[in-house]
Subunit: 406 residues, 2 copies
């Protein structure tokens, strides 16, 4: 890796030009660094003459989060690039196309999606995406099924597990999602107004057992290649198109972690609206849209996953043992609910928050949203092993959120 | 690996001599190849002058089982050697000492245990090993705990998972233990007298679900570094000493698979005696000795594992979440019971049998033993997810075995 150094804009342009046949003319290219500088450099390079453009993402050898900096392997660029290419094969059109991966520079050159918006921003602005549940359910069903022991050669799957061992990025998840929020950890970050809620989390033994079980599965269950960070900030969207980006947290883990991430982030936006004026029908209508999307994500995922199982199942016994598939799907639902809960809780009291809630300007409204999100998150975590349908998740979320308001 | 070739006895002696300081004089060394030639060459090399001796084990690039031959990676020699050395550190004195590992030749030079007997033979001959449960419970508690997320750095553990990915040897287990016995597979091997039992296995949906769940865990649950083949043929023993050998099946899997293997092989010997004359108190007495050993293996393992957890636990939440440890131990017990059952069934109808039963000369007595082993195995598989104590395992085994006789 001796050739590695963080690129400047001139170097980025030079590399872009060397991409054969991409930029047709020899005119000047525009280049902007648009990353947040915490983990990666991201260059947007475009040709005003042809209108062609691309994205160059280069991993930095450290992570910066709220001022702190810690070293991070550049190997995550390989993992991200390989995961993106694999996802592209399994779920065509639902991830950006990769044009080139340069391991020395930890650099991936890929499709520019500037015509899309980040879904989190889209939801904050009240956007509706009628094809989202169709697209994301295809993405998760295809990528999870065909990287699991159910859908691929089981010996090749073991080699895949080795290829996607990702200790440093997993550690971030293990600490920030499955540990810190449940103790008085230095990395926690929450507003004084909800200190009572944070302290309640630290002292809730029943919750700790459920989180410990979900943490254990995250640590040990090599079920499928996960995206690993599938929140609405990792999704580019338009009403017609959905593109999942940034799989640098990819590793072999429990499927429910990815599905739960999608659902948690829809519910965080739901909770964000809990402090709004509910005499306003538009608020309730949008919340219902979000809940309906949650329902559709699961039901469409389940239908697609079951169809793949029937048509492409690789495991003889999994195909023939009576009731095994139903049992498997039930366990997936339960994991999904548990992980969704964990992902909500950490966004309120843990290190990394979400704009859906943090950018609410009115302190009382913001507090209401935080309490609603925590109430939903805790309820889902406690529900997970008892759940038997997606309707239970939705009802639990509504009830918990309403109770937090009373 | 171009230097690789199967060694002859002269070459083996030459390599042994080069082991610094091992054979003091320059007199002639004796060499015998004592392997069964199916997977490995095993040379026993000794110096009549000094009395020193050692074992050289060289992996062959193929496996031969009942005439069939299929290619097998030499990398398993690395896995075996690394597993042996790791086990030696975690459970000192309970595995043969490794003197040298030569990767080019897929060769491990290790301690000669000729003063021990293979435990399977010892049990067949009615030997008693008063320290066995103490030793083996230490071996499994130490090796499983300290290679798991409970007992070691959780990021290093992920690297370990990668180091011990072992697709070819796992495939043997997946096929022969978790698939073939439950369908009319070509590799199955059973006597005509028990065809009714074999066919019953192929058509028992309830059993198939349980086996599918145990198979799923074997495929996905990277809980700890397993020995992977911990039957009584992989244990050298004397009344004072226990040495676990041959971890070439080592990989990260569910802990219960190793514990279950030990218990299954004690119960196979128990079943072997079911056709004997039970008016003979000695038979009953030995069967009771075996059941008592089963009980001790679990109870001592559990006590040691819990003590390690309390003293050396690495996972904050696992240590503090109330009731989590009890839940974990219960799940371990259930897995142990399920895997013990699978390991018994495969030894009666699957490809590889055990001498405890196959070498019974009287056909009726042998059939009785086979039916008893199958009855116990099936009952344990069906019990596994309902079990709550080791006493249930023992009672279920006794009841099932007695019913098979009636």
């Amino acid at each position: 890796m001796s050739a590695y150094h963080p690129l400047n804009e001139e170097e980025a342009i030079e590399i872009a030009r060397s991409l054969e046949g991409f930029f047709p003319g020899s005119g000047p290219l525009n280049c902007r660094e648009i990353g947040d500088g915490n983990l990666n450099l991201v260059f947007h390079i475009s040709d005003p003459a042809s209108g062609q453009s691309l994205i160059m993402k280069q991993a930095l050898p450290y992570a910066k989060v709220v001022g702190e900096s810690w070293p991070l392997t550049l190997d995550r660029a390989r993992i991200e690039s390989e995961a993106l290419q694999l996802e592209g094969k399994l779920a065509p059109g639902l991830v950006p196309q990769v044009y080139l991966y340069n391991p020395e520079l930890a650099l991936t050159i890929m499709e520019d999606l500037s015509d899309h918006v980040i879904m989190r921003r889209g939801l904050i602005e009240g956007g509706r995406y009628p094809l989202f549940s169709e697209h994301i359910s295809t993405f998760i069903a295809q990528t999870l099924f065909f990287t699991s022991d159910l859908g691929m050669n089981q010996q090749d799957k073991k080699l895949n597990v080795g290829r996607f061992i990702n200790p440093e990025l997993c550690k971030i998840t293990e600490d920030l999602i499955f540990d810190d929020p449940y103790t008085d950890a230095e990395n926690n970050s929450f507003e004084d107004a909800i200190r009572d809620e944070a302290e309640a989390l630290w002292n809730d033994g029943q919750l700790h057992v459920e989180v410990a079980l979900l943490r254990e599965k995250f640590l040990t269950q090599a079920q499928a290649l996960l995206h690993g960070d599938l929140h609405t900030g990792s999704i580019f969207i338009t009403p017609e198109s959905t593109k999942v980006i940034d799989p640098e947290f990819a590793y072999y883990g429990p499927m429910g972690f990815d599905i739960g991430a999608v659902i948690a982030n829809l519910l965080l936006n739901y909770a964000a609206r809990e402090g709004w004026d509910h005499d306003d029908d538009a608020v309730l209508d949008y919340q219902n849209y979000l809940l309906e999307t949650v329902r559709e994500v699961w039901t469409k995922f389940e239908a697609k996953f079951r169809a793949l199982w029937d048509e492409h199942g690789q495991d003889r016994l999994a195909k023939t043992a009576p009731g095994y598939k139903d049992d498997y799907m039930l366990r997936l639902l339960r994991d999904t609910i548990g992980y969704a809960g964990c992902k909500m809780v950490r966004r309120i009291v843990g290190l990394a928050h979400v704009a859906d809630i943090d950018r609410i300007e009115d302190a009382a409204v913001r507090e209401q949203a935080q309490r609603a999100a925590l109430a939903i998150g805790k309820s889902l975590i406690k529900l997970n092993r008892q759940a038997s349908s997606i309707e239970q998740l939705i009802q639990t979320a509504q009830t918990a959120s309403a109770a937090a308001k009373a």
